[in-house]
């Protein structure tokens, strides 16, 4: 497509050219693409556009590589779990196959979007320095870590939304992945509730209810938009905390994910 070549040519002269293209023009272009092309062609085209016209801003590249780190982590985790003989009971296999499929798709999209700027896949230690030593032999541990990873993913993406205000299309992609992670989190939490016989664990997060305390720090927050909602609509603190998921900063997420990453 000529538009790609044009952007490429600009890039050769001015590395930041894509960033200088008018947002309105870009959005118009995206809308046209979205309505004219068949569904199958859209992912590839979108990825190309991200690569060539958006991911050039340093901030967006940082956010996407951060996302890629977490997606690599999740992808490798489910690949290992789904491949481990006798770990996941037959009844739950379809769930983890579906989750794993999405993580692989997220990695593929981000790698394509970032192009040469994509980070290399880190080496992981899913035993978390020994804390989850039996993660691929004990289903209880596996489900627990899964729910923790998914909830962390939700918090991580949410924490980056504000960083993408100037990159509307990347923001939208991030939101589209964010809600998929939330769907994963809800189902993993429900499995964890059953497997660990913990009825306090629901698809949504009550207070700080979750497998690994550090991951849920601040989830019990009742103040939204600067207003303490305690007592709103005569609902309980538990319900109010459930109604809002809380973000985590990149630093907090990397501190949590750190022990999973060997190099």
């Amino acid at each position: 497509m000529d538009i790609f070549k044009i952007i490429d040519d600009f890039q050769k002269i001015d590395g930041d050219a894509a960033g200088r293209i008018e947002y309105a023009t870009r959005r118009h272009f995206m809308n046209r693409i979205g309505s004219k092309l068949a569904t199958v062609a859209i992912p590839t085209v979108f990825a190309s556009i991200v690569n060539k016209a958006y991911a050039q801003s340093a901030k967006a590249v940082d956010v996407l590589n951060y996302a890629l780190t977490l997606e690599y982590l999740e992808d490798e985790f489910y690949k290992a779990g789904n491949a481990a003989a006798g770990l996941i009971p037959a009844s739950d296999k379809v769930i983890f196959t579906q989750i794993g499929k999405h993580e692989t798709q997220h990695v593929a999209f981000l790698v394509k979007a970032l192009g040469a700027k994509a980070i290399k896949k880190p080496t992981f230690d899913f035993k978390y320095g020994g804390a989850f030593a039996d993660v691929f032999t004990n289903y209880k541990t596996f489900v627990t870590v899964s729910s923790a990873l998914e909830d962390t993913g939700v918090r991580a993406y949410k924490g980056q939304a504000g960083e993408l205000l100037a990159d509307p299309q990347i923001l939208e992609y991030a939101l589209q992945v964010h809600s998929v992670e939330a769907r994963h989190a809800a189902i993993a939490r429900r499995l964890a509730a059953t497997v660990t016989a913990n009825p306090a664990m629901k698809g949504w997060i009550t207070g700080k209810e979750g497998a690994v305390p550090a991951i849920y720090a601040g989830e019990d927050n009742l103040t939204q938009g600067g207003v303490n909602l305690k007592g709103l609509a005569s609902k309980s603190d538990a319900a109010i905390s459930e109604a809002f998921d809380e973000p985590l900063t990149k630093e907090a997420v990397l501190a949590i994910a750190g022990p999973f990453i060997k190099a």
């Binding site: 979205g34 309505s35 569904t39 199958v40 859209i42 992912p43 979108f46 990825a47 379809v94 769930i95 579906q98 999405h102 993580e103 692989t104 798709q105 997220h106 593929a108 999209f109 949410k158 939304a161 504000g162 205000l165 509307p168 299309q169 923001l171 939208e172 992609y173 939101l175 589209q176 992945v177 964010h178 809600s179 998929v180 992670e181 939330a182 769907r183 994963h184 989190a185 809800a186 189902i187 429900r190 629901k202 698809g203 949504w204 939204q224 938009g225 207003v227 909602l229 709103l232 609509a233 609902k235 309980s236 319900a239 109010i240 459930e242 109604a243 809002f244 998921d245 809380e246 973000p247």
Partner: protein, 237 residues
């Protein structure tokens, strides 16, 4: 028949595949319940419950206020729906289901009241829902409608994100959309337990992305469920 013609015209105006699918699913829900609606209509005070938009005209407004009012409108519909679900439980609702649906009702009521408070005197009026097409006595009908509302809510917030100019409001939308996605996953798991449907291929694309749908198309998809005529042409502008 009038509403059916309106629906077909509306469908013709919508160009994107995503939006057409959302709309068709919404229309399909109403159609599949059409016979039940006819019998239920006898007990309804409203002379013609199938004609949407017989209430007031409601303009969501411009800019970030418009986006917040848009969210407020959707949360009003969700809150009203689940309030009805709990007030008149469907036949055979288990304790576990009741707990889940009560939780969701509370979340939606909290979202609704939060937006109302946050918007203050810029808030739109309380909307009049039209759930005549939903048979609240039947599990399939209620959970099917819940799935539609939750998936639509997720797609709506995802599509509205880039229209928000203020980082604080964007974060708030982010805090709520993931809860809506949790609802969607759990409702889908109630409908088809232990399946891939919680994040099914019918809603998640080949890049592993959830839907993101623009306000105009969401409003078209839900117009059958509200009596007021909602205008969102300037949301985010």
């Amino acid at each position: 028949m009038k509403s059916k013609n309106n629906s077909e015209e509306k469908a013709g105006e919508i160009t994107s595949v995503v939006n057409r699918r959302l709309f068709l699913r919404s229309a399909g829900l109403a159609t599949s319940l059409g016979t039940i609606v006819l019998s239920a209509a006898c007990n309804d005070d409203d002379p013609d419950p199938m004609i949407p938009g017989t209430g007031d005209a409601v303009d969501l407004g411009t800019g970030d206020v418009g986006v917040l009012n848009y969210a407020y409108a959707l949360e009003q519909l969700e809150a009203a729906f689940y309030t009805q679900v709990i007030a008149t439980p469907y036949a055979g609702m288990t304790d576990a289901e009741k707990t889940i649906l009560t939780d969701i009702r509370d979340h939606e009521v909290i979202h609704r009241d939060f937006f109302k408070t946050a918007l203050g005197d810029k808030a739109i009026k309380g909307l009049t829902p039209n759930f005549a097409a939903i048979d609240f006595t039947k599990r399939d009908a209620v959970l099917g409608a819940a799935k539609l509302f939750e998936d639509t809510g997720v797609a709506a917030y995802n599509g509205a994100g880039k229209l928000i100019k203020d980082g604080g409001y964007l974060l708030l939308a982010g805090k709520i959309v993931s809860v809506e996605a949790r609802h969607a996953a759990v409702i889908r798991d109630l409908i088809n337990p232990k399946s891939a449907d919680f994040a099914g291929d019918d809603i998640i694309n080949g890049d592993g992305f959830d839907k993101a749908v623009a306000p105009a198309d969401i409003l078209a998809a839900v117009k059958g469920y509200v009596k007021d005529t909602i205008t969102g042409a300037n949301v985010g502008k």
